[in-house]
Symmetry: C2
Subunit: 557 residues, 2 copies
């Protein structure tokens, strides 16, 4: 038998030891503690060319100090890195490619950097492995994309390197577990180093180095929607969602996407929903970031529980005062966890409702547009039928019955189905039609030489399309033609909508496949902003009893 | 504003404090430390009627001491519990229902207790909420099945209540996170209490009470298959799997079910696979418990990485010596994690291959048989097409092309697909046919008043059926009739197989939908046990360089 030192089976561990030894020799590094001005040298000592590196970019929390440091390493020493991180949101996340430090990328979402990402790709500065949904990327961390070095962010550390992430735990546990248990190296930036942490989110055992960043880690308030900006069209659509889908199926557990459309639903529950007698009958359990727009529904006693992917700036005190609703630690602050919340969103929710930029006549939808490579974050996971699900709920059984009723063979075997609702106004900004004959995704795939078009949610998985014109229930469509006409039938005055076969659309309406507001007993004249439980940020603050403290940019009073 | 004490929003926390106060007043409880003989009193103090309780029963590790204690509480004080636990494997897991302590059950798998579970259900002693796949149950822990009290098992604790789970971490992180962060209570049984843990798997912050159990927690070696029991039929089927599926699709990442069929594949990689020149081209990354049958392939350099749901008894030293392959902690022992490995199995693997007891002519399969309520563990999650997956691999793209080629509409939109292979001998034990016209699951659903028949893997998700007669590629079937004949065409001499339409089966064979061994260039006479890289437990031990130490019951030399 070989000894540990020369074993061909312990190369990763030996290599890790060599990296740690190089780091230990640096000035400014004492055991796990690293001085801020030693950080670039530390990364140069720890990272080797070709390494897979996870630079924690979450949906909200950003390891921004470490991102800047990584962009400062010498490309002669550190190059050809393969970045494996869920979100690209800071300029430095792309600088590393521009500077020749990194060359390959696997990710989930690049919203604010999507334009520059496409440009760098076009310029041959990087190679994209793939775009993933979050849980898929985390899964690959344990299979074929395990990070060698992870650069993460937490709120505080103690002397042993235990970490307190505070409310924005987000991706951290998934990243650290994959790295620390495969002979990788974990470097954490923290806002402060304290004697005793309010709680431990990541054991110090799993963390190799801690550096106090000069500034607190950057956090983005992505899920705050000012009710003042909700339109009456959105109120109308929200009424249809509540009466025509939530009530119809008895949806108990759900996830809402980001956006004003779903914020409107949240704000109508305690008013319109209450009037319909739905309290306690729908929307009891949520997989959701702590949306401020949910405050009135929580206060009115609609919400039994909320588990979160991440937190939301300004909601800290409110969450702390509502531990019966939110998952919180002994310190009172939120415990979020993107991996578990995505698993819950996939497997334990009856409904996902989100929006899109484009939908084709088969129901395929995408937010990918020409010249941008944006990724889809959690939508593909949440907006897919969870075919491994086996527990029943009324909503899931009814959707499954509608989808399979009368079908022969394997496709007709009784099975539940997740409700996946796309809620879109027929025209988006600048009068761009949301309904198109061909998604931009096809051209984008060609341009970027992707093996498949970047479709966010496949038509095969969408169950309802909801526009200001009505609801198309695709579950009830029995062939491609019906599906196409059902979509055209709610596509309004878009060119795709105008190409509808009027007779067939009326037939679909008679069958309840298409339902207009009138069919639902909704008078569009009732769809006023007065129905919103909060009509401004100030109303939200008031509804929270002063506990919600919106970030400055949302304070307009 | 209300104060914390009288707030209607902090009832869970107030209630938790009251429980902890009752516990603190007990003799034998000092801070987190509980004497073994105080355990029943502790549970009576902590648990209230109607509570949701998770009694950690994993696939392998069992909180057996706490299970016995729970079965001893007074049903007058503690009753109507709602048990939410992945596995029922100990008699005590059902005793609590028989004794009137618990009344409702949500679970994933009950293999050894499936008969008694059905009897108790029939006798009205319990109500089943639902049967789940593991990740689904974990998801619900964060939505609508959050445990109020969790009774878990770890290998060691320190004075602060930090836990070392050792190699069998399994479900523990998911259970503890859901409980500890929703004002629940976590009680851990440990084998020993030490000054310094080899590593920390669960932070002490998340744990309320620790009790040293009189005996180490029971662990079941579920994934050990003695190569001596592998038949030549299984060797033949394994050859077909490797040449006809793994090589054909270039499968890089995969999960194997439990069983001799897949053990045979593992043992053929370094012999037959090597001869086909497949090393490095297939089977590089695994989501898998550390199967002893994989040792020869690992030693021959086939395996780059293995991430595990749980561990396997006897593999400890071998794993410790192979950290380049397995996920291990700084102490050298395995870090398993069922939640992450299931996420990886769902989203990051190209192929799942498993077995079943029954399959119908639509390809629906189930291990549920009359009079038993067994559940399916991870199979529904792993054996379902991951429709949220967006990263491409050759295997996934090819399967998707085969499935969608020529289809119109939404169903024809290009998309990859997971390979889901059912590998079954046409007759199982006692000459029971594996292929049937109607699954027992239908009658079982009726008997147990389930809303849907307990199907393990839906025909809609199965891509290949592999028997000793050949491979049926269901991806290439274009209608129900083709699918039915493809299945009958490999169903051998079972009544279902004999009802095949011979002409159509030959047509399907000509099209490559059905492939016989001869079509694959496999001579059944070559399928001898000599092809197995290990033919006995002793061979496995030898292949491991003496590092693998099989449990006593597998030592037959």
């Amino acid at each position: 038998m070989t000894t540990l030192a020369d074993s061909p089976w312990t190369r990763q561990r030996t290599n890790r030891a060599a990296r740690l030894a190089r780091a230990a020799a640096l000035a400014g590094v004492r055991a796990k503690a690293v001085e801020a001005d030693a950080i670039v040298a530390l990364l140069e000592a720890l990272i080797e060319p070709g390494d897979r590196v996870c630079l924690e970019g979450d949906n909200q929390k950003q390891a921004d100090f470490l991102a800047r440091a990584l962009a400062q390493v010498s490309p002669e020493r550190v190059h050809d890195l393969h970045m494996v991180q869920s979100v690209l949101s800071l300029p430095e996340h792309l600088d590393v490619f521009e500077l020749g430090i990194a060359s390959k990328l696997d990710f989930s979402f690049s919203g604010p950097q999507s334009l520059r990402l496409a440009q760098l790709l076009g310029a041959g500065k990087l190679q994209i492995g793939a775009i993933h949904t979050y849980l898929e990327l985390f899964g690959r961390y344990f299979i074929d994309l395990t990070p060698k070095v992870s650069l993460i962010a937490a709120q505080a550390a103690d002397a042993q390197g235990n970490l307190y992430t505070g409310p924005n735990t987000e991706d951290t546990p998934a990243i650290v577990e994959a790295t620390a248990f495969k002979s990788g190296i974990v470097v954490a930036q923290v806002d402060e180093i304290v004697d005793r942490l309010p709680r431990i989110d990541i054991p110090g055992d799993w963390v190799d180095f801690v550096v106090r960043a000069p500034e607190p880690a950057f956090i983005e308030p992505l899920f705050t929607r000012d009710p003042a900006q909700i339109s009456e069209i959105q109120v109308l659509m929200a009424m249809m969602a509540i009466k025509g889908i939530y009530a119809e199926y008895g949806v108990q557990s759900l996830n809402h996407g980001i956006g004003f459309d779903t914020a409107a639903i949240e704000l109508l529950l305690p008013t319109y929903g209450e009037r319909l007698g739905l309290k306690g009958r729908i929307c009891r359990h949520w997989a959701l970031n702590p949306h401020p727009a949910l405050i009135p529904a929580i206060e009115a006693g609609w919400v039994e529980s909320v588990h979160s992917f991440g937190s939301e700036l300004g909601m800290e005190d409110y969450i702390r005062a509502r531990p019966d609703v939110f998952f919180t630690g002994p310190d009172g602050s939120l415990r979020s966890n993107r991996a578990f919340c995505q698993a819950a969103g996939h497997y334990a929710c009856d409904l996902f409702i989100g929006s899109t930029l484009q939908m084709d006549m088969m129901g395929n939808s995408s937010t990918a547009t020409l010249g941008r490579i944006a990724g889809f974050g959690g939508a593909p996971n949440m907006g897919a039928d969870a075919r491994g699900r086996r527990h029943a709920s009324d909503a899931w059984l009814k959707a499954g019955r509608e989808a399979r009723d009368g079908l022969p063979g394997a496709r007709g075997t009784p099975r539940g189905q997740k409700l996946v609702v796309q809620m879109v106004e027929t025209f988006r900004e600048h009068m761009q039609p949301a309904f198109v004959e061909t998604l931009d995704a096809w051209k984008l795939a060609e341009q970027a030489r992707m093996p498949l078009p970047p479709i966010m949610i496949y038509g095969d998985d969408v169950t309802h399309v909801l526009t200001e014109e009505g609801i198309a229930n695709l579950l009830l469509c029995r062939d491609d033609e019906e599906r196409e006409q059902a979509i055209r039938g709610v596509a309004g005055f878009t060119p795709a909508g105008q190409k509808r076969d009027r007779a067939m659309v009326e037939k679909l309406r008679a069958r309840g496949v298409i339902r207009r507001p009138a069919d639902l007993g909704i008078d569009p004249r009732d769809a006023t902003r007065n129905l919103l439980a909060a009509r401004s940020m100030r109303d939200l603050v008031r509804a929270s009893g002063g506990l919600y403290q919106p970030p400055r940019r949302f304070r307009n009073w």
